[in-house]
């Protein structure tokens, strides 16, 4: 890695509490929806009978038709979380290797997000502290639509590597 890039690494010392870090745009498309279906494998099943609570085995090979595209109910919440993570990773980079994602506080908005509609991802540092020789960093990742309506917020608690 070039020297100037090393200097740009987001180390613990570089974070400032209660300070925006940056923002980016993510636009979920058919490819990402297809990836999500492959990952979750949940497009193959219809409504489940809640009266039964048996174990269901997922193959993970998601071979569905991606029928959520254009659905009035919007993109799956799990996909939105994945896109929020992508936004965070895009804004806070380069990072030192070895960071650990310890926990998340998630809030989904009630506004639906749809494929091919750009979403704005904002990332800020909420707080940081050192405890038991670990560097803790709290980041807030907020995803909004073009009308600034909340799609998802993710408060990540990270153990920062350096």
């Amino acid at each position: 890695m070039p020297v100037d890039k090393v200097a740009d690494i987001w180390t613990y010392d570089r974070f400032t509490e209660n300070t925006p870090i940056g923002e980016c745009t993510v636009t979920p498309d058919a490819r990402e929806l297809a990836l999500w279906h492959q990952v979750s494998g949940h497009d193959t099943a219809g409504p489940h009978d809640p009266s039964t609570s048996g174990l269901s085995e997922r193959s993970g090979d998601g071979s569905g038709d991606g029928s959520t595209t254009g659905s009035p109910v919007g993109l799956p919440g799990g996909l939105l979380l994945a896109l929020a993570m992508r936004g965070y990773l895009s804004v806070v980079q380069p990072r030192p290797p070895g960071n650990v994602h310890a926990s998340s506080l998630l809030r989904w908005g009630v506004t639906a997000a749809h494929a091919d509609e750009p979403l704005l991802v904002r990332v800020s540092c909420l707080s940081k502290h050192i405890a038991r020789e670990r560097r803790w960093v709290d980041l807030l990742v907020t995803v909004v639509d073009r009308d600034d309506a909340l799609i998802l917020s993710n408060q990540l608690k990270m153990v920062w590597a350096a």
């Binding site: 489940h48 609570s53 085995e57 919440g77």
Partner: protein
Amino acid sequence: MKTLQSIPSSLVAQSRTIDKESIQLYAQLCDDFNPIHVDEDFASRTPFGRPIAHGTLTLALVWEAFQQTFGRDVLPGAEAEIRFVRPVKVDTRVTARGTRTEAAPGHHWAVDVTTDDGVVVLQGTVTLPATTPLG
């Protein structure tokens, strides 16, 4: 609105083996190619010894349990507190479960993901908005 009795007391448990392919697919989705997830050589030199899954990939199985239980995505308006308790090494079979808690009937769920050995790798709560029709 369904009555409390008609709302399931537990989620339809979901199991899967988190293999190399699913980790690669999720890496593409998140654009997160951290070598701890996708590079076997790198991971072999870490305390984990093998590549580990992205935490939110493991979490996806919890969302799948809600999806399978209620037949649709119930996350709009929801809140969740999730702790990634242990890393999930590649080729580990895990199961996501959820139980409706009595504190807030119908809308408050305790969730976890465990390995076949009973090791809890993820734990948390999910609160669905009161307006979410269940059942």
